[in-house]
Amino acid sequence: MKIYKVKVNGKVYEVEVEAIDEVKETIKTETKETESVKSEGTNQIIAPIAGKVLDIKVNVGDVVKKGQTVMIIEAMKLENEIQSSFDGRVARINVNVGSDVRNKDVLIELE
């Protein structure tokens, strides 16, 4: 097992890599369903940039109006106020304060 340092989008990760025999073995991959998978019948509020969740302005069950600020994400010294593009009720919040988010992650789902 070798450990490599890999830099992705400015962040450094330590990655363990195991050499395998191509004939004898296959790598088993575990797919985790991330919280950004779309739920049926919901409108999604997505992250416009990668960053960290600074504040969540709504709770599950709240009624949200189009244009209402629902979350603040911080990235590269920018505080990004995320507004809803839809009217709706908050069905699901997929992040917590302090969560790291990627560009296009689904943050909140409205029904």
């Binding site: 830099k7 509020i45 416009p48 990235a75 106020e81 995320i82 507004q83 809803s84 302090g98």
Partner: protein, 234 residues
């Protein structure tokens, strides 16, 4: 330049956030007094005494919005350029975007965006201590002003004109400010406390990297910090 001036307002950034759809790109909002100014992480920016330069610039041009990663630090550097023009030379940039003179804070920048599924506008908010000469001791970082550093009162109207023009110029240029910014890196080679993976760590600062993240050394690892703030150990 489209400039909207208030004698008093809650917060110039908030005005632009509430009205950005009707306003032109590069509209500037300024105020003599702010009743509810703030810096990053919701910290209060005290500017109740009418002696300082408080303004926000609205950016709606997609070509400039694309540069959002660098705009905050370039804004701080723009203030550094102007302070040097006024004869204040012991001036540095404390990552991410504080301007420090004689180890005291003279200017803060708050970059905000309004987004739906993409960034619709950016707002650069700037608070520069100009003719303030007394500061509350309650703040963690000691503050200073141009008047304190130069021992003279500054003509605020003349300063505004210079600052606004320089900001518009620097926002619109494709010039790479990195080498200039590196020269005034306050935290370089200092030890700081910073959050890494939700843990507070004491690390050595290598310096501001080319993507304007902060490169630090945590034992034998080199890490680039993009969010948060570095508190300096003395």
């Amino acid at each position: 330049m489209n400039i909207i001036h208030f004698e008093t307002i809650d917060f110039t950034n908030t005005y632009l956030k509430n009205n950005y759809k009707q306003l032109d790109n590069l509209t500037i909002v300024s105020s003599d007094v702010q009743s509810n100014g703030r810096g990053r992480n919701n910290r209060k920016w005290d500017s109740s005494k009418g002696n300082n330069l408080l303004f926000s610039i609205l950016i709606k041009d997609e070509n400039i919005i694309r540069k959002y990663k660098s705009l905050s630090i370039i804004s701080a550097y723009t203030i550094i350029q102007i302070l040097k023009q006024y004869g204040i030379n012991d001036v540095y940039l404390k990552w991410p975007n504080d301007v420090i003179v004689n180890n005291k804070k003279i200017c803060g920048v708050l970059l905000e965006a309004v987004s739906k599924n993409a960034i619709e506008c950016l707002i650069i908010g700037v608070g520069l201590n100009v003719n303030e000469d007394k500061f509350d001791k309650e703040y963690l970082i000691e503050a200073t002003s141009m008047k304190n550093e130069l021992n003279k009162t500054i003509d605020l109207n003349e300063l505004k004109d210079i600052v606004y023009k320089k900001f518009i110029e620097n926002i619109n240029t494709d010039y790479d400010f990195y080498d200039d910014i590196k020269e005034c890196d306050y935290l370089k080679n200092k030890r700081v406390s910073i959050q890494i993976n939700n843990k507070l760590k004491n690390v050595e600062v290598i310096g501001i990297d080319h993507d304007y993240s902060l490169k630090v050394k945590d034992k034998d690892k080199t890490i680039n910090i993009e969010t948060g703030e570095a508190s300096m150990h003395i």
